[in-house]
Symmetry: C2
Subunit: 218 residues, 2 copies
DNA sequence: CAGCAAGCGGAGCAGGAACTCCGCTTCGTC
DNA sequence: GACGAAGCGGAGTTCCTGCTCCGCTTGCTG
């Protein structure tokens, strides 16, 4: 059964939006470690109000993640639609790393919305799109074909973390980092990789573990 | 002038070693987030005793880092001495990532010993060695020559972070990650990189920033 | 416009982790 | 063996941050 069709009172609705806006800005500017009190202050609201809507800080983060997921989905859609399949790969990876470079909270935000659900729901939303970008470039022969989305995801996670730190000191360094990764991903150059890619189930588990490690990390 | 040539009492010396051993083990097994009380407990010592030797937790971490630096220096020396220069690159990067995969505290430990000194002292110790491994392979023509130690360091930082998380679920995944990185570093395959490598001064600053971000991360 | 449920806010609570303090113990010298 | 300095230990302090509680306020309905 659907829960509570009762709409929020107008002031409550306004405060809810203020909280979401303030949280999104605060996470981007100061990272996910920012305190709940500070978010409430910036929203012009008491912490009590915040906690009535979001029972935990994680729930608030989840809400922001959900909000921003569409932004990444749009990026992926754009990457699916490039003329050259390889350009799609560059666009997707570049777009993700650029966000890491300019948005301090992006790491934790992209991590996943696992807390509320216990399942990697964001991954479920985005993985098919990412997979299409990748397999398109593999069919085209531009992307090495011994890798899967899971391999690329791991690459991005790591690079994102490095980019997050370096971008404060050398803002454009991520472009070089990306360049090296892309060279490692190009097909004509591939040296056989050891082992096998993670399974999809392992990918789910990785996604959850990654999210956890990002969220505990202030 | 040299401070305090006064030697420690025998029991104090024994306790100091116990603390160092316990800390090293605890960091490796449980990560740097482990509490000071727990380290003291495992060392069979009171927290007071620990704090007499190490005025802050960071000082203790620094001491462990210093201890382990030689281990990495040895790895780098081995990498300088391989027959094939490229094998040295593989050995160095592989050795670093493998440690990330098996030692939960390695990230923070390798980060640097910046807190006590305020300067990237570990970097000062290891950078020349790393640079020799790299330039040797570049002269040889096996490693792309448009990169510097700073570029490689960033790559390792990011990969290390990813490896740390994935290795709990897919223990060998780091080998694939490394394989892709190595393909990105091979000379014959290089696509020109944008921008210029970080300067040495920027590299110092990056090292300090990276250390800080690793240490605040529990 | 009256009544009240829904909403508000922020002082305070809880718990976790780094660090301090000080009475007691032990080592090593004379 | 005795004495004092060095060392010990762990209960307690502090600080930080997520979260709760409850008396007051406000928007909505009849």
């Amino acid at each position: 059964m659907a829960t509570t069709p009762v709409p929020l009172r107008r002031d409550a609705q306004r405060n809810l939006e203020r909280i979401l806006d303030a949280a999104q800005e605060a996470f981007a500017a100061d990272g996910i470690e920012i305190g709940v009190d500070e978010i409430a202050r910036r929203a012009g609201v008491g912490v009590g109000t915040l906690y009535r809507r979001f029972p935990t800080k994680d729930a608030l983060i989840d809400a922001i993640v959900e909000r921003r997921t569409e932004e990444i989905a749009a990026l992926a859609a754009e990457a699916e639609a490039t003329d050259e399949p390889w350009a799609g790969v560059e666009l997707l990876l570049g777009g993700l790393l650029e966000r890491h470079a300019t948005d301090r909270g992006f790491k934790a935000l992209i991590a996943d919305r696992t807390v509320a659900t216990g399942k990697p729901t964001i991954r479920a939303r985005l993985r098919p799109q990412f997979a299409r970008v990748i397999t398109r470039a593999q069919r085209d022969g531009s992307l090495r074909d011994d890798i899967t989305v899971e391999d690329v995801t791991t690459l991005i996670w790591g690079a994102g973390r490095a980019v997050e730190v370096t971008s404060e000191i050398v803002p454009d360094h991520w472009r070089r980092h990306l360049g090296i990764l892309l060279d490692g991903l190009r097909a004509p150059r591939a040296t056989p990789l050891p082992g096998t890619p993670p399974t999809i189930a392992q990918g789910d588990a990785l996604s959850v573990a990654w999210a956890a490690s990002c969220r505990s990390g202030r």
